[in-house]
Amino acid sequence: MTDSAPPNTLEARAHPGGWQGFAADWSSDQRAFKSATWGKAMIWIFLLSDTFIFSCFLLSYMTVRMSTTAPWPNPSEVFALTIAGRKIPLILIATMTFILISSSGTMAMAVNFGYRRDRVKCAVLMLATAVFGASFVGMQAFEWTKLIMEGVRPWGNPWGAVQFGSCFFLITGFHGTHVSIGVIFLLIIARKVWRGDFDSGRRGFFTSRKGRYEIVETMGLYWHFVDLVWVFIFALFYLW
């Protein structure tokens, strides 16, 4: 398969926008996504399928929480931390939220510097993103440890509805796995950027093909998605 043409050709500019463009793109009997390379289209379709996975988790959580007759444990108290003798509600989760948002910010700028061929800034920002991500996972490990010590299990907990534990471990566990995988790939791609693989045309160790700076944007889309999922988990599981 030949590589799809970059979206900045005259051909791309000739395409109309709006609804007319939407209909024209889909009925063009060619590739439908004129502005996106195949890589971008595929990562988006992957993210769409991942959206459905997390949607199903949050939906099952909603279903068991609405249908249980036992009281639901109050997340505000369950996730409170005592700092300097004062009990602050949900403080760890709030910190994790800010860390993940910051990592999204550095990632967005890494994508930008990647397209500007500023590989040092791009790699440093990706490393910063990975550090934020790793600290997020670390805090999550702390949170899991704390809750397990307090007796939370997938089949019960000391405060109320037994489904609390299974929802918590499933949803945050799956999200944490996504973050961990993201950190690993961030490190791999940051190394490639740092080494200048996408300038020198060095071939990848796995695919034996030359990479492009577009991979930084693909990585960014995955990372922002992980942040996006956390926005929903934070609102629906921790704050509700």
């Binding site: 926008g17 502005s35 909603m62 279903t63 800010f98 934070f234």
Partner: protein
Amino acid sequence: MTQESAHVEGQQHPIKLYLLVWGWLFVLSTCSYLVDYFGLEGYLRWSLILLFMVVKAGLIVAVFMHMAWERLALTYAILVPPGAVLLFVAIMAFESDYTHFTRVTFFASGQVSAQNQAVEYQKSSGSEH
């Protein structure tokens, strides 16, 4: 900024835009945290949580993920299907409401043995750890 001019080479936008969105995400997260900190309750709490959630998600998708500059063919292909999830939410809300109703009716209708069974089950499953 038109759709096409953003595609000169990949996605290039001023860094300032990302910093601005980053700042807004911080403000919105702080707001949603404060909803919990001040212990707002009921519909006020739920509507504020959902509002901040949707605005944050919109900012991330539109700017950080560059959806605002993609062509509609891609935007709709990705953003319309999750709409089906909303229908699913509605279906499951009805379903769980009904389950809750039957549980309340069943447990409260004098069928003591069944209720005891449920309590015993909860006790035994709670003591397993």
